[in-house]
């Protein structure tokens, strides 16, 4: 019997994957490329496909959660040169779902891109892959070759009038390129610094042409929606958030890994799938949506469902679905120090509040952690973070500020204890 990778019983995106059955013939055996074939054979009007995506209530899986159908609808009709880009620059600390989709099911993304290109009238697309996952880039190169040889991408696909060329592009170590306009700069062969919006990429994107950028997981959902219907996908999740979501669970759990759940499933279920808190310890805190999302105390998280609205109501964000779990022995000052060093390192330097502010944050947290904190430092952290938020071109500024403000909000006593006693309140087992 074939051993399947275990993403949980709700899995549809990651169902029936063994780790080895990533090739095109395996994908076709699972019903792959049927959706594309059906559309091209019937000559389904792009608007009809778009209506199905809108009905599904698919929302962007990269972090922002923007309705995909609406995003596609922003693309101007008739422009001669348009692009669709897959954002596979997965670098948000704690997130590792796109890596699994691309290495175990790459053709789901290729088919999703071809359908997206058909709907928006794009003749060319790029998959921008995080440079650190080189083996995945190489696999995607192979997968695109397979797709080209099978005639599911290329000129006049399956005898239709629709042509679509697709290529991989690799990053080489810059978190900022996960931001869509920085990614476009990088694709153009420049340093990855974000662009002002507006104009939005749907009007002025890659090479100045209309462009839509979607996350890997978002695109992988597209063939499933068209094969099974928008209503089917909608019914898997919640009314304004259809489908399942892959959650990347890391940190203090018994079985870190990716788990696919219906949107709206309770966090407690996800924690159970990941084997619970490591060593039977108590849950202290959870960062529910990647390192940029506000941290929540474990007790709040245990009462929260995993969907956009429920997590927002609890005070954080669904983000990319990266769930970082911390147990009772973890020092919150030290944990925040790691994150703040990261944002300081990854700030591209374009906007002063982020470039300078992330440095000040890292510096202050470093001194608190090392027993040299000063009275007023906690307020200073909150003030600096507040002054970064909303004052930068891209979201990296907010991403650096949100963890700080939430750590201080929920765990202020730990920061104060560090400053007053020059040592840690908890016996950290790091």
């Amino acid at each position: 019997m074939t051993a399947f990778l275990d993403y949980g019983s709700d899995a549809v995106l990651m169902a029936r994957l063994t780790g080895d059955n990533w090739r095109i013939e395996d994908y076709v055996a699972r019903g792959g490329y049927e959706a594309l074939k059906a559309i091209l054979t019937a000559g389904t009007p792009p608007d009809q496909v778009l209506a199905e995506i809108k009905l599904s209530a698919l929302r962007g899986r990269g972090g922002a959660g923007f309705p995909t159908g609406m995003k596609w609808g922003f693309m101007p009709r008739g422009a001669p040169e348009k692009y669709v880009v897959c954002n596979a620059d997965e670098g948000e600390p704690g997130t590792f779902k796109d890596r699994d989709i691309l290495r175990f099911n790459p053709h789901s993304v290729i088919e999703g891109m071809a359908i997206a290109a058909y709907v928006m009238g794009c003749a060319c697309g790029y998959i921008y892959i995080h440079g650190e996952i080189w083996d995945v880039y190489e696999r995607c190169e192979e997968a695109i070759e397979e797709a080209r040889a099978a005639g599911v991408i290329g000129q006049r696909i399956m005898g239709s009038d629709f042509s679509f060329e697709l290529f991989n592009h690799h990053g080489f170590g810059a978190y900022i390129c996960g931001e869509e306009t920085a990614l476009l700069e990088s694709l153009e062969g420049k340093k990855g610094q974000s662009r002002y919006k507006p104009p939005f990429p749907a009007n002025v994107g890659l090479y100045g042409k209309p462009t839509t950028i979607n996350n890997v997981e978002t695109l992988a959902c597209v063939p499933l929606i068209l094969r099974n219907g928008g209503q089917w996908f909608l019914d898997l999740g919640r009314p304004n958030a259809g489908g399942t979501k892959i959650f990347s669970v890391s940190g203090d759990v018994e079985r870190p890994g990716n788990y696919e759940l219906r949107l709206g499933a309770p966090f407690a279920k996800l924690l159970e799938m990941a084997g619970g808190v490591r060593g039977g310890r108590k849950l202290k805190a959870v960062i529910p949506g990647g390192s940029s999302s506000p941290v929540l105390p474990g007790a709040i998280m245990m009462e929260t469902d995993l969907d956009y609205d429920s997590i927002a109501k609890a005070g954080s964000m669904m983000g990319s679905g990266a769930v970082i779990v911390m147990d009772e022995t973890r020092c919150m000052v030290r944990s925040l120090m790691r994150l703040s060093e990261f944002y300081h390192e990854e700030s591209c330097g374009q906007c002063t509040p982020c470039r300078e502010g992330t440095g000040w944050l890292a510096h202050i947290i470093h001194r608190i952690e090392h027993g040299e904190g000063r009275p007023g430092d906690v307020d200073a952290l909150d003030r600096v973070a507040h002054n970064i938020m909303g004052r930068t071109i891209c979201a990296l500024g907010d991403a650096a500020a949100m963890p700080v403000r939430s750590f201080v909000k929920h765990f202020r006593d730990e920061f104060e204890y560090h400053i007053e006693h020059h040592r840690c309140q908890v016996a950290d087992h790091v």
């Binding site: 650190e132 080189w134 690799h170 990266a322 911390m326 390192e345 790091v430």
Partner: protein, 168 residues
């Protein structure tokens, strides 16, 4: 030293991915290819890439200095980049970092005297379920790198290097 025929061939393949007149899009691939061949990117290498792609050298430098996986100074034969971000740190990267530093007797951004290993601190590599994560060069991701796995890897890389030297 001009770009090798193999490198040019690879760069041409990268250029073909982009629309006519958009050769600059291939700069990241070109730099990666040259670094793979030469170990690091000297000012001369950057100039050669610039010339090949028809870009001003400063534009190539801007790219090479922006992305952290390009090396603008000589590095050891094997560059080891350990992730020390929060998820890896919660799953043992502090232990791994200490072990690497003590075993190799070097700190971050340093190279062993024999020129074999350079040790770098990395940021999230997107594989946190297999933390601690470490890259060897840019092509090889090593997962769950605790001290025994680190020792095995270092021994393997030393063997690999010795074998190559014997062949040469």
């Amino acid at each position: 030293m001009p770009l090798s025929a193999v490198a040019c061939q690879k760069i041409d393949k990268a250029i073909a991915k982009y629309p006519v007149g958009r050769k600059q899009s291939a700069v990241m691939a070109a730099l990666t290819i040259v670094q793979e061949e030469r170990g690091w990117l000297s000012p001369e290498s950057l100039r050669e890439v610039a010339e090949y792609l028809g870009m001003p050298p400063v534009a190539v430098y801007e790219v090479a200095s922006f992305y952290t996986m390009y090396h603008l100074k000589p590095v050891g034969r094997y560059v080891l980049t350990l992730c020390t971000n929060l998820p890896c740190s919660l799953q043992g990267s502090d232990v791994a970092a200490r072990h690497l530093q003590e075993t190799l007797k070097i700190g971050w951004n340093e190279t062993t005297p024999d020129g074999m290993f350079t040790l770098l601190q990395g940021e999230c590599m997107g594989a946190c379920q297999e933390a601690p994560v470490m890259l060897t060069g840019h092509q090889r991701m090593c997962c769950k790198m605790m001290p025994p796995q680190i020792d095995a890897l270092l021994a393997q890389l030393r063997d690999e290097a010795a074998q190559k030297e014997r062949q040469e």
